[in-house]
Symmetry: C2
Subunit: 219 residues, 2 copies
């Protein structure tokens, strides 16, 4: 169990390096982050990093792409609650919204967003790599759900793409505002309140009588 014997796995060092890279990059930014520190955090020597990844840029892009993929998967999992809304559309939307907002508020997701903003001008490839695979894809997926709901008569006829973007706006902006740029941990109860309010506002604007037999009012 000594340190040297712990050179257990072989190939998964690459994973450890990419994880450490995302951690260090998100804490320090691309320029300030040093490959040596990433190696230290990964528990690996610097030349090992260069054996697995081409250079610092490659390291950064791979780490970002991997994290984006993971965050998107979490969001889509939460959204899946809307695939079979059942007879209570509001309840289904609230669950999905709460799930997605929890994902958006967690540290990794926020770090990914901030890092993308930070480095987009130096790495234009990030456009397709990150927002294209997270907010963009998520927005499309929500639009798909809304289109179905409109066809089924739960929502009034509307542009589903715009509706999806607006829904995300109702959801994320209040949460982002209250997190004070990630320095304040938004408590789960507040996340719940925000997502409930987002669904309420959205349904007041988009629900049909069919979809909201309770009349679209709440509380």
């Amino acid at each position: 169990m000594s340190a040297s014997t712990a050179s257990r796995g072989r190939i998964d060092k690459r994973e450890a390096i990419l994880d450490a890279a995302f951690t260090v990059f998100s804490a320090q930014g691309y320029e300030r982050a040093s490959v040596q520190e990433i190696a230290d955090v990964a528990g690996v020597a610097k030349p090992t990093v260069y054996k697995h990844l081409q250079d610092k840029e490659d390291l950064f892009l791979q780490a970002m792409a991997g994290t984006a993929e993971a965050v998107l998967a979490e969001n889509l999992a939460a959204l899946d609650r809307l695939r079979n809304p059942g007879d209570d559309l509001r309840a289904a939307m609230e669950e999905a919204a709460y799930g997605m907002l929890l994902v958006c508020c967690n540290d990794r997701s926020r770090a990914l967003r901030y890092l993308t903003f930070a480095e987009i001008s130096r790495f234009p490839d990030l456009i397709d790599l990150v927002p294209g695979r997270t907010s963009g894809r998520l927005s499309e997926a929500i639009a798909d759900r809304f289109a179905r709901l409109a066809v089924s008569g739960y929502l009034r006829p509307c542009d589903p793409v715009l509706a999806a973007e607006q829904f995300l706006g109702l959801l994320t902006v209040p949460a982002e505002e209250r997190s004070r740029m990630g320095t304040r941990k938004v408590p789960a109860a507040e996340v719940r309140t925000i997502s409930t309010a987002a669904v309420d506002t959205f349904l007041r604007a988009y629900a049909t009588a069919t979809g909201e037999t309770d009349g679209g009012r709440q509380r």
Copy 2:
């Protein structure tokens, strides 16, 4: 009119330096930006920069604070249209929304936002300096307007702070999504469409019969 004779103003070199600093910082990021390049862009020698500003950090923070102040002023000017909504609340909101969204979409405003995200972890002071003075103050100002409108019976009773955040979400998220991280110039007509849609959704959710005698429907 030679270059040397152009050493016209004395004190406004500071202004030129801060302007150049914001330009270079927003293009390169804090770490990558070099003081030498900022001096070149400002048309000034490097030691002159250090005569006016303490060090690179000071240079950065002053440039950010100044830009934040300017952006907030533009936003508040657009919002002022809501101070006397007149008898057509929808028209007033559309004008205010369009004005604010134009500000949010311009290059300087976007650069300010992205730079803040980028450097927030290295400069925690930015929290009070930038979002505290732009989105935060703007959100408060909108909440003030909404509170008045609710008291006057134009909007239904609601939490004005949350309503303001939601309104900003409806407005900014669709625009941000379509700008593809600032790489796509959103045409003015699309900005108009987005702001109209934001107001429409907002009023469907928040307007009273008093406020929208046309029944809250449009098109």
